[in-house]
Subunit: 192 residues, 2 copies
DNA sequence: CGAAAATTTGACATGACTCAACTGGAGTGG
DNA sequence: CCACTCCAGTTGAGTCATGTCAAATTTTCG
């Protein structure tokens, strides 16, 4: 099979060879440079879903003080988009940038609908995808309710080891909901 | 139409009269008394989805100190379940109790699958349902990352006015991630 | 009415934040 | 190859929001 996206889909639903061909024909290849801004909160509309082949993106909000808060990271083999904007065609809730040089496949909303009607199994694939994302966020909320910053960091390390030395620590601090200085102290305490 | 569930579905997808009948035939009516425990974290499996006609449920986790943390409230016209357990048949991540006497309709996993195949539009309905729930949780996470407890409370009041004087305040405090004493002080400051 | 539960309030403790200085590594240009 | 700069990360000292513990007050409900 040999394609990251098809392999990802195959984990959830079975497609015939013909359907696989069909699916691939609906996607576009795109590349983004490290630091590139793809979506701007409250300015842009999210026109496509992104499936990451190489690199890593982040989705974040910016508060009144100009501070950025990381909502989601998407390394290779993950989907990312401003889902709200993508489905409603309203302005984005979040901004999105490339943390590294990235290679992706993208699909627009129209093509997506068309693809659903031609390959119905994909509607199921995306339902399950969102369902899993939803469950992950339930648990993330539970982390904010039940855990200290130290525990949240420990869980992050266990859950996303591939992200831990891949980006500046302040991005991980932001994801965890603490200041970089605090994460630095948490890590210092951790070691000894 | 005159049925809460059918009206709720009609907001998202169109069903024929025959399909509506079909859908209703798949659900069971159930009642629960205030305080009843429906699901126990790490003990039970969630065998059904619940659609609330009357009353209100809460979904919560219990930490190592025995403290409960409210993940979700479900008043009338809302769905609730331990989605993770429901879909995977693993043990529940969360517990669930009735905050009031409740009237619901329920559907099991098997019936759900059967219903999807007989009324395909429902797969779409549930995808959109979960999608919206997912977006709500993205924003809730964003609240924990960006906002003070005071701001989170203000947003809660605006977003869920129907819940505000319907349950003990400590349940709302728990949902917001603060102690009841702190919420009390936040409210005191609010007034003046 | 009386008991139990919920909420408020006070005094104090603590975890995380702020501001600021310092360290160390990566990259640049002379 | 060194000096310089820039940026991430660390560390220290003081502050602030929220937690903790305990008592007082109010509300709920049998």
């Amino acid at each position: 099979m040999e394609d990251l996206l098809l392999e990802n889909i195959a984990k959830t639903v079975d497609l015939t060879h013909a359907e696989q061909e069909k699916v691939m024909s609906f996607f576009e290849d795109e590349h983004f440079k490290k630091g590139e801004l793809l979506l701007m909160e409250k300015k842009d509309r999210c026109k496509q879903l992104y499936f990451v082949y190489e690199g890593c993106f982040r989705l974040y909000s910016t508060d009144d003080d100009g501070e950025e808060h990381n909502i989601q990271f998407a390394p290779e083999d993950h989907w990312i988009a401003d889902i709200y904007s993508f489905w409603t065609n309203e302005l984005c809730l979040f901004s999105m940038t490339a943390l590294e040089d990235c290679t992706v496949k993208t699909i627009s909303h129209d093509k997506m609908e068309q693809l659903f009607s031609e390959v119905p199994a994909l509607e199921r694939y995306f339902r399950i995808l969102i369902q899993n994302a939803y469950i992950a966020y339930l648990q993330r909320v539970n982390g904010f309710l039940s855990l200290s910053a130290t525990d949240r960091y420990a869980i992050f390390c266990k859950k996303y080891p591939q992200l831990i030395n891949r980006m500046p620590q302040y991005h991980i601090a932001s994801f965890l909901g603490v200041k970089p200085q605090s994460l630095s102290r948490i890590r210092a305490a951790y070691k000894h």
